[in-house]
Symmetry: C2
Subunit: 344 residues, 2 copies
């Protein structure tokens, strides 16, 4: 039998490859693999189902990740997928596997964080599985949600001239990660060091305790806007824009000068001698929403502080342009994080 290393395909191609033969048997399955969540037709609403894994040493470093935040984040990243379908989460179910290195108190902290997220988003934690692992901490959360048939928003509906909108600001979670990694090295060199991280509070929270954009889904409803496509930004803006273009079979033009970047993020980017735009395009784990709207809806979002129009959709699927601040045209590439890449 041939032996193809996992790193040779990359995460998205690997999933495409593995699931290429998946057959569906229920005619109520509207959407299987390939969007933020699965979509299953009910009598009145559509049921949404999604799952994200958080794995020690891959998605988080236990050295600088407070367990309560980790529990919180494990719920939020799943809710984010439901919001990205323009739906509302209702229930979560959590699986946790821990090695004997962890204590009951450690598990309590994870659960506390999970329950805090459930309280904030008014979600029911309705079960799961808690078991031991040979090594490391693994968290698997599944979220269930619903959306009305006339509001569900896939990745595939973007049309030429639709405006591309992004919520909040970009690159902060990645800036926070760089700070944490730097402090880890400082601590390893000098365990007595007492770092003052208070000046980085915003980006650290973006990395360690992100929120999902329920407010945006509510706002879209209130303003009577149904996006033509939507996705959450977990692997970096560039990667997600390309997902929407590919699913919608369209192209895009986005403008560097429009990218919303917080001043703390920009300061850290400069400190690390990296272009803040790179943070914004390729930093992952944002859990902001990226969506497209018809131009006629522009007036409804104009002036909403949390939504920025960064570009538009074009006819030609092979056009994926970033117009730089200096006016150059650069082809967008997905350089988002890939857990299978060898250099992680």
């Amino acid at each position: 039998m041939s032996k193809t290393p996992l790193s040779s395909l990359g995460e998205f191609k690997l999933i495409d490859h593995l699931t290429r033969n998946v057959k569906l048997y229920n005619n109520r399955t509207i959407k299987g693999i390939g969007d933020d969540t699965a979509a299953i037709e009910g009598d009145n609403d559509i049921t949404l189902l999604t799952k994200d894994l958080l794995i020690e040493g891959v998605h988080f470093n236990i050295m600088y990740t407070p367990l309560k935040h980790l529990g919180y984040k494990s719920i939020v990243v799943n809710l984010s997928d439901i919001y990205a379908m323009n739906g509302h989460p209702t229930h979560v179910i959590a699986g946790i596997a821990v090695s004997s290195r962890y204590t009951v108190e450690a598990l309590e902290e994870i659960y506390e964080g999970m329950m805090l997220a459930c309280e904030k988003y008014k979600i029911d934690l309705v079960g799961g599985d808690t078991t031991s692992s040979a090594s490391g901490l693994f968290i698997s959360v599944t979220a269930l949600g619903k959306v009305s048939k006339d509001r569900i928003t896939y990745r595939s509906g973007a049309r030429p001239n639709d405006l591309i909108c992004v919520t909040g600001n970009l690159g902060g979670a990645y800036a926070g990660l760089l700070i944490l990694e730097r402090e880890k090295e400082v601590f390893k060199a000098n365990p007595q060091s007492q770092p003052d991280l208070s000046q980085f509070a915003y980006v650290l929270e973006r990395q360690l305790k992100p929120e999902a954009r329920k407010d945006i889904v509510d706002l879209l409803m209130e303003k009577n806007i149904i996006p033509t496509s939507m996705i959450d930004i977990s692997d970096g803006l560039a990667s997600e824009i390309l997902h929407i273009c590919k699913s919608s079979n369209r192209g895009t033009v986005i403008y560097e000068e429009k990218l919303p970047i917080d001043v703390q993020t920009a300061t850290i980017a400069h400190e690390f001698k990296i272009d803040p735009t790179t943070f914004a395009l390729n930093g992952g784990e944002e859990y902001e929403l990226l969506f497209t709207i018809d131009q006629k809806d522009y007036d409804k979002i104009k002036g909403v502080e949390e939504i920025t129009v960064i570009g538009h959709i074009t006819e030609n699927p092979s056009q994926t342009d970033l117009i730089s601040t200096s006016g150059n045209v650069i082809t967008l590439r997905a350089q988002g994080w890939d857990s299978f890449r060898k250099d992680n």
Copy 2:
């Protein structure tokens, strides 16, 4: 902060402890933590949701577990929980984390097994997450199902004089595990050995590629029986009977001579100098159904080969008696498998 080792509580107490403060926010949540699945009220049916983890080095040994079987089993164990609510599964979502030691071909085998189970049970695999792990293979499957409001069966409905029924036969999966563990030691001592395991085919299949009892749920419907309580046997018959008694606040009497044990299982038990009854009571991973029915329904199941009446429910919750073949009264104890136990 105090540091309580995980092994001090045991799996069930640990889960009770961790989830004691879980609050529910949706009034449609009929059942949260504490049964085979969660139950969520819909407009017509009840939605069922469940998750089981399978973890390398804890739930399976990769040395003797064919990956295709493992994929198959990861789906089946979740379907079994849905059937244990008297429901039918409709969709599954799968998360897999693997270390770089695994190849694309290895993941293909796991997916093939998953798809085979989906085909057999006519379930849709609608998504998931595939990512890398620092070490080992982790599979997390969530199953979604439904059941009509008048047929849902919890653990808590058993009433005095109800008959206790079990499907199939017991102890086979554990017998299979003992054979595999023995062969592993033989192989380690002599890697050239070519074991003939064909005589153990039945129990090996019970361990490596179990089936879920869809046929029984269909049969109960066909015969117009609604069990008063039901659970699937994943941690051993004794443990599951005690779950039903505790949830229903009732006691039980079961009869050793009634326990259904396959001849291959009994032969292996004797070979290992263990009482076959011990296999039947404490062997886990059976994925048979244990349920209670009203005595008036006895005639409907009489003569059904796959269902055995092994005892009845009693009024007094503190009575949990096993009547031995020789007529002695022995108190049932849960000695099922606990992943947190130190001697695993």
